[in-house]
């Protein structure tokens, strides 16, 4: 679990060019981390690659915070 959280935060920090310390679980990509719409698309692409899964567009739209990304990965992986 923690492992996934750490991996998600690392990717978020890398993709959005922010310090990992700034990435809190409650952070919103757009409101707190300064992402634009293209950044969020890229972020989902990076998550897909890291966790070797495909995130359908309708799910991707609902991933707007770090916590939501972690929840998504937890719910859809390692089952």
């Amino acid at each position: 679990m923690e492992n996934i959280e750490a991996r998600v935060k690392k990717i978020v920090a890398e993709q959005l060019g922010v310090n990992e310390a700034e990435v809190k679980t409650e952070s919103s990509f757009v409101d707190d981390l300064g992402a634009d719409s293209l950044d969020t698309v890229e972020l989902v692409m990076a998550l897909e690659e890291e966790f070797e899964c495909e995130i359908p567009d309708e799910d991707a739209e609902k991933i707007t915070t770090v916590q939501q990304a972690i929840d998504y990965v937890n719910a859809h992986l390692n089952k």
Binding site: D36, L38, E42, M45
Partner: protein
């Protein structure tokens, strides 16, 4: 050679403008994948490009998932596409009063939908690379219109609008998207026109002659190079002065 080490994909590279583009990019150092609609055509491209650096592959841009599958295969084997040239295109000319739905749909599928699909498919690799060049072959007809080519003009104007939008979307990632709009170029496409129509067209060209496929290829090679890094969303008119918009 300025394109050394780059993977370039050129659709419709078996003859005409696409063949000249593929050869020119390869001479500039790129590894070029040129496409043809038949296997024999792909083999012929491989033979042509082998000494320059590149090979042919089969592609019908209107077949289901063909574009996506081709780009996936290229990226798996050779790495991400750095330069995409959307060149494949056809004409189905006729007066609007007589134009069939099939003539409209064939042009939209082959000339416009293909540009959307190929551009989307290479985008992931280009976004990650924070670099990329897309050059779309439009037409003077898409800018000025032409009686008997409502379908073709609509598709080519569509390419120009698509290019501008995409340029705005992905500019922040170092990707440029431009059009080259050829005028009247000596290829199979224009050889199919009646002689009287060809003569009338030449009369409108300031330089007084048809263009050569190489004239277009040189413009594409420029837009694909580092020298054109600050040019995006533009349509470069290569038409001998046939139209000066």
């Amino acid at each position: 050679m300025s394109l050394q080490g780059k993977i370039a994909l050129v659709t419709g590279a078996s003859r005409g403008i696409g063949a000249a583009i593929a050869d020119t990019l390869a001479r500039e150092g790129a590894t070029v994948i040129g496409t043809a609609t038949s296997e024999a055509g792909a083999v012929a491209i491989s033979e042509r490009l082998a000494p320059l650096g590149g090979f042919g592959m089969e592609l019908n841009v209107t077949a289901d998932n063909a574009i996506e599958n081709l780009i996936e295969a290229i990226e798996k084997q050779h790495g991400p596409v750095a330069i995409l040239v959307n060149n494949a295109g056809i004409t189905r000319d006729g007066l609007l009063m007589r134009m069939k739905d099939e003539d409209w749909d064939a042009i939209m599928d082959t000339n416009l939908r293909s540009v959307f699909k190929a551009s989307k498919a290479v985008l992931r690799g280009m976004m990650k690379a924070r670099a990329g060049r897309i050059v779309n072959i439009a037409s003077v007809v898409g800018v000025m219109g032409n009686a008997g080519q409502a379908n073709y003009a609509a598709a080519k104007a569509g390419i120009i609008g698509f290019t501008k939008s995409m340029a705005r979307e992905v500019g922040s990632r170092g990707i440029t998207v431009n059009c080259v709009a050829p005028g009247f170029i000596d290829t199979d496409m224009t050889r199919a026109l009646p002689e009287a129509q060809r003569d009338a067209l030449v009369g409108q060209i300031a330089l007084g002659r048809l263009g050569a496929a190489q004239d277009i290829a040189d413009a594409v090679a420029f837009l694909a190079s580092d020298k054109a890094a600050y040019i995006t969303g533009q349509t470069l008119n290569v038409n001998g002065g046939m139209l000066m918009p």
